[in-house]
Symmetry: C2
Subunit: 126 residues, 2 copies
């Protein structure tokens, strides 16, 4: 086998190429349409629900809630609800989430910096 995910003494590493692997689930959450943006937005700074909604243009309430719950369940996002009225809820990255952001942000940044070099039709309009 030539699976670099198994070789080189990385026995603990899970291979996303295997169909049943849990890393695919996490990868799907992390790289989901909105997951990426939520993680990056929270890496910029902790934010409240409404702030997130405004920061991430076009996200619906449903998808924001759904994405936040998935990322919280994975252990990447921390949800802090102050029991006040009116309600106030703060979202931030956990230490694990911050580690993830260290490798995710460079990707998002690279794409942002290099769209104009791709041959996506829309990219020309930059």
């Amino acid at each position: 086998m030539d699976d670099i995910w198994q070789s080189l003494g990385r026995e603990r590493a899970a291979s996303p190429f295997a169909s049943g692997c849990a890393s695919r689930v996490v990868l799907d959450h992390v790289t989901s349409k909105w997951g990426v943006l939520v993680l990056v937005a929270l890496d910029e700074e902790p934010r409240r629900w409404g702030e997130l909604r405004r920061r991430i243009e076009g996200i619906s309430e449903k998808m924001l809630a759904q994405t936040l719950r998935a990322l919280e369940s994975d252990g990447f996002v921390l949800r802090e609800s102050h029991g006040t009225v009116p309600p106030r809820v703060d979202y931030s990255l956990t230490p694990l989430g911050r580690e993830l952001a260290e490798v995710l942000v460079p990707l998002v940044r690279w794409v942002g910096d290099n769209v104009h070099r791709t041959t996506v039709p829309l990219a020309a309009s930059a």
Copy 2:
């Protein structure tokens, strides 16, 4: 505004937080369920159609074709068809694709290495 994608002299950078931005399109291709795996598989080494299909467990022919066409159209993947019979087609990363892989592979690798630290139910079975 506190948009790090606009500040710090990065005027050419596109912000994926803006709903109409082309970087979202590219980001969606790159972070799509199968897009990630295809790019990483091709970063390991150039591969033929059938090799890709076998490397990426669970991908259907339709999705492989569709994903490859999207990534080729973006300029990340090079398709080389030798006009032989039976047909032989090689896929590889373009220079741009290789640059992308430099930031994408660390992400995939991190997830693979750290699934066991997440709280995904399935992850415990590792």
